[in-house]
Symmetry: C2
Subunit: 426 residues, 2 copies
Amino acid sequence: MKTYVQMSREELVNEKALLEKQFEDAKALGLKLDMSRGKPTPSQLDISMDMLDVLNASSDMKTEGGVDCRNYGGLEGIPEARKLMADMLEVPMENVIVYGNASLNIMYDTVSRSMTHGVCGSTPWCKLDKVKFLCPAPGYDRHFAITQHFGIEMITVPMTENGPDMDMIEELVEKDDSIKGIWCVPKYSNPQGYTYSDDTVRRFASLKPAAKDFRIFWDNAYVVHDLYDDKKASLLEILSECEKAGNHDMVYEFCSTSKVTFAGGGIAAMATSLTNIEYIKKQMTIQTIGYDKINQLRHARYFKNIDGIKAHMKKHADIMRPKFEAVLQVLDSELSDLEIASWTKPLGGYFISFEAMEGCAKAIVAKCKEAGVVMTGAGATYPYGKDPKDTNIRIAPSFPTPEEMEKAAKLFALCVKLVTVEKLLG
Amino acid sequence: MKTYVQMSREELVNEKALLEKQFEDAKALGLKLDMSRGKPTPSQLDISMDMLDVLNASSDMKTEGGVDCRNYGGLEGIPEARKLMADMLEVPMENVIVYGNASLNIMYDTVSRSMTHGVCGSTPWCKLDKVKFLCPAPGYDRHFAITQHFGIEMITVPMTENGPDMDMIEELVEKDDSIKGIWCVPKYSNPQGYTYSDDTVRRFASLKPAAKDFRIFWDNAYVVHDLYDDKKASLLEILSECEKAGNHDMVYEFCSTSKVTFAGGGIAAMATSLTNIEYIKKQMTIQTIGYDKINQLRHARYFKNIDGIKAHMKKHADIMRPKFEAVLQVLDSELSDLEIASWTKPLGGYFISFEAMEGCAKAIVAKCKEAGVVMTGAGATYPYGKDPKDTNIRIAPSFPTPEEMEKAAKLFALCVKLVTVEKLLG
């Protein structure tokens, strides 16, 4: 079988006609599928329904320390929940604050606080002429949206299988004190599913930023989200690495149970140095009297400990794995011989990242939509929504069923072929 | 019986000796009571325990419109919860956004957004040389803490039984475009328990602020918190008054169920114009994917409708009323003949406001603490924590039992007398 680049113009024209016919047939199926967001599927949400029975009208609502979770107070979260989230992140519970329902909200608030009040006493970023963030890309669109919202200039850093380009990061943060932060999804990265290597984490921990108020925004969203029991990525714990390197205060780490229990009904946490926590609490105590301790208690009692979470995540993996495999199987059988694209094969997380031929991503996503399959908008994985080469597409296999996923993936592969042929024909 | 001012120096010296003896006796009781914050007492929290049974492992988790509350989405809150909070505030549900667990957090976020992004397109407040807020006082310390945190200059406006001094407010907001907001607790105000008169509300609605981005921060925290069934304050609904006056966008109204269901485990809402909502949502969509819809659903299903909330609030009133009455009865019997102080007799809310003789408040609070009764810090009810005349003390009767409340009130009255005598002796 010939690859597309090996084909003559005539062969390509024939192929195009064939693909167009197939596309019309596919459109006639009237698909209505959404692969756009990393949204759990209902059966994943069913897994956690028992958690709603944990607290009831006759429950003891006190923490182990005797605090009534129904009343005001407890800014940093209840001890049981702090311990649970700390164990998830493999850090001491003293380093953890448990917040409300969303880690995105913590990240937003963290940037917002830095804008209005600076970082541990530094000049508020809103008073500076220029504030920049490094953005490993492809990355998470909602991260980029936060920095864009605050007028922070974003600099794209290329991603590799081992994490972002550390040479570039080291050079930039060491020379430019207007660089105040970097967005990272270190484990099963969004969208590629890459996990930062030990060397990458150590180089992060050893950065010598020109800006004293430079912080690494370490969004460990998929820390327990393995797909396979026997093939798990491992990520070095960054807080202790930073300590070793003398950079105690350089990291804000985030996580939540949004993709463990309920999306939007979970609990979220930040882990960071005690110095950072002290500074953050000065602002938090103005912002709130405390977050929802009842939901914290519900989570802590339900899981009991980190083993409870790990067992729970296996149930998620059992649901997610067939969907990932359905997509990968279709991509492999439909596209691998054509040499027109590449894609990642993650061991965890929520996404598969797809690289089309240059200048094809937007057209592929548009074609899919035409036939009823909604993908994440092309470009979304880059700062300002602009993928410079227009190649990257994020595939989110979680929401549809495996059967739907297979149909959607076939349609997707068809669109990739059709758009690529059109591109080659010019 | 002579009042203290009528007493001779010798009589005052004798009185002081007597009071000092009583104070030593009181100290020996070893009281340990907290009247510092508006914190519900455990039996009030027990009232809502059945709410924890509303959702369980076999519940239908969909809204009436079919949205799965366990998954992402629904920025403005689920319709059922919006309707419930809208009915509480007597506004259309389209004007309501339901957030997370705390209205304080919404207020903070609202000021924070105005600092970084302005109000409906105005210059971000952080870019202005000067931003000022009007602060009716005595008022709520956490309001003042927010504006102070953001470096906003606070101007004290005197309170009256009918609300803040509207002459002063009208004059100030009409001439000074650096005045961007005003903090109000319009019903059963914190700490006086005053409710703004119809005339006051209409004058608010008809303000002609020099600043186009001036907003009234209308914290309707005690909207359903009546103490008596037959003596209820009534408050004009401000959104519709503003509309009538052509000031559609001038109000942000806040409320929560923190003192209806669980303190810190409730749901909170903002009501405002559709134009404001549209602008706010542009920022919210960056900050979060959505708030905890499960707790929203739990609240909506538990109460069913506003009548459910009203019936619920009667149970709270039955617990709160005896405490208010215990305090008022003691103050009346111990202090009313002496003409050294005055206090409010609220029909709702969480506080009694006490006015001591000039220069005595701090000393009274300190004396109480010495004997084991913790009050809200004197000065807390004024901007910057500075009560210019040192007269105001906030009494929060909710947390102790009625019996404890009586003991605490007696000790308080004793401290008032002792400090006043000391003051008169010079």
